[in-house]
């Protein structure tokens, strides 16, 4: 069981406030989608959960304990690109986590341990549909297959939290639909809390148990004068040169109805579109 709590988290780079006063509780086994326009800080938010970025103030608790300030095996991740290692085969990429775990110095497994790791990796590859590609290098795989591999690789270490940074953003719509089915199956069958950044609202609503929107607030009087002629308020926000002075906050926290619960069958009426 893995809950995440953010307590008054701020993130600033120099004078630029990226995120301000983020208070959030993420229940165990949630599937949270973070949405918002480009540059609103949702990726920064994810990187703080990952431990790659440290909040300027406030704290993040994982199961009640402060988060380590560097990435570790509790938090798996899949990025939009560069998530797999180009010099290892598909199988090599998946067993790597086991080699890190069991062979601190040589970082190679032999004998029974290696056979066990391979068997486990093959089961995962079967699950993500890459069984027939074991000996290929990532450059020989399509974008969708690379992301499936990245998922299998992350799951090998059995993380408590899986962080997805626009993982399907670069994929074709058809392939994306397939991988949505996979990610939902993984969420339902493993003991995982998932936090996903996406700029695709329909993806967020299709997959997540909760959708959180980030947005920069702006209410400086001198800014408002300049907005009259623009097409929409939203566009204007991001065109403003004063934008950097204010961080993003959580503006909407949307419950999905009927509630989705990991592992529970979907209701007939609320059957997802996929």
């Amino acid at each position: 069981m893995t809950s995440i709590v953010l307590d008054k988290v701020w993130k600033e780079y120099g004078d630029t406030v990226v995120l301000e006063r983020i208070n959030l509780e993420i229940a165990s086994r949630s599937f949270v989608a973070l949405v918002g326009p480009s540059g609103c800080g949702k990726t920064t938010f994810l990187r703080m959960l990952l431990g790659d970025e440290v909040p300027t103030s406030g704290q993040i608790l994982l199961d009640g304990k402060p988060l380590k300030p560097e990435p570790d095996q509790n938090r798996g991740v899949v990025f939009q690109r560069y998530s797999v290692f180009p010099h290892l085969t598909v199988l090599g990429n998946v067993i790597l986590g086991k080699e890190f775990e069991q062979s601190p110095i040589r970082v190679r497994l032999g004998g029974q341990k290696r056979r066990d790791a391979i068997a486990e990796a093959r089961a995962l590859l079967q699950e993500v549909g890459l069984s027939s590609h074991e000996t290929k290098y990532p450059a020989e795989l399509s974008g969708g297959m690379q992301q499936r591999l990245a998922l299998a690789q992350a799951l090998m270490r059995k993380p408590k939290v899986l962080l997805l940074d626009e993982p399907f953003g670069a994929l074709d719509p058809g392939i994306r639909a397939d991988i949505h089915v996979l990610i939902r199956r993984i969420w339902n069958t493993s003991d995982l809390t998932i936090v996903m950044v996406t700029h695709d609202l329909s993806e967020a609503f299709r997959l997540a148990s909760r959708v959180i929107a980030f947005e920069r607030q702006r209410n400086r009087p001198e800014e408002q004068e300049r907005y009259g002629a623009t097409l929409s308020k939203d566009l204007a926000i991001y065109a403003s040169i004063n934008e950097a002075l204010r961080g993003a906050t959580i503006t909407r926290d949307i419950e999905i109805w009927p509630p989705r619960i990991a592992g529970a069958p979907a209701h007939g009426a609320a059957k997802p579109l996929v």
Partner: protein
């Protein structure tokens, strides 16, 4: 059709590639003939026949004084210095490049000193090396190491920086320690890139080798060229220069083949 769209086929590529060589050769033969017709004892542009005889003398006949086949003993002496120097440089570059590229503490400590030291002209250090290490093999190898290793280190540091940050984070989320990341993520990805860098350093390595041999040596290809210069023996110098070029070319080719065979993933990963 636009010039940028005209592509030679295989036959044409070979013909075009050989063309400049053929022209150079013809120019040489013509020039040599003109000069030899005017003065049969001309030494500047010797005929192929006299070069052939000189090389037969050096490569196929034992030297009267030492009993050695001079061209082969020169080649062995030079290659031993060159390869030892390059091997030491490569080892230094792998270790220092990965350490400085990966560890912020090592970067802060050694980054500036490497950057500064790589600006020292290596040939200016040659007298110092001769004074400290004597005129033997050590000073020549040291010159090659000083001349090539710092550039290799700097290059490798940049290559380590080029590893996407996502990969290093991903490795950490798989539980890897710094050592494990260095061994399984960084090192294997650096080896094929290091081969590229070493290929580019073959030229400078020969430069430093020949410079050191020219000044103080008793054998070696550079030593021989500068020795016979006193007698204007172009019939030895020109074949030696061609031979050095062939050796350098073969080393380059060998490294390229090694890269392709040993790192099959690399070509595609680099293109991606």
């Amino acid at each position: 059709m636009r010039a940028i769209n005209i592509k030679p086929d295989m036959t044409w590529r070979i013909v075009l590639a050989l063309l400049p060589f053929a022209i150079l050769l013809l120019l040489y033969i013509a020039g040599s003939d003109v000069r030899l017709a005017a003065n049969p004892n001309d030494k500047l542009l010797p005929s192929f026949k006299s070069m052939g005889e000189a090389i037969a003398q050096y490569a196929l006949t034992p030297d009267a004084r030492t009993g050695l086949y001079l061209m082969w003993s020169d080649t062995a002496a030079s290659l031993q210095r060159l390869l030892t120097g390059l091997a030491i440089s490569t080892a230094i570059a792998l270790f220092a490049g990965i350490a400085i590229g990966l560890l912020p503490l090592a970067r802060a400590t050694f980054g500036p000193v490497v950057a500064a030291a790589s600006m020292v002209p290596p040939l200016a250090l040659l007298p110092i090396l001769f004074i400290i290490m004597g005129l033997g093999e050590a000073s020549k190898i040291a010159l090659i190491v000083i001349g090539t290793s710092l550039k290799l280190v700097r290059d490798l540091i940049l290559r380590v920086y080029e590893i996407p940050r996502e990969q290093l984070i991903k490795a950490q989320t798989l539980g890897a320690s710094t050592w494990q990341i260095a061994m399984r993520v960084v090192l294997p990805q650096m080896l094929p890139r290091l081969i590229d860098s070493v290929r580019l350093e073959i030229g400078p390595a020969w430069l430093f080798l020949i410079a050191a041999e020219a000044i103080a040596a008793e054998s070696g290809l550079g030593y021989r060229i500068f020795l016979v210069r006193r007698y204007l023996s172009m019939d030895v110098i020109i074949p030696y220069v061609v031979w050095i070029t062939i050796l350098a070319f073969l080393m380059d080719l060998g490294l390229r083949l090694l890269q392709r065979k040993a790192f099959p993933w690399f070509a595609a990963a680099r293109a991606a």
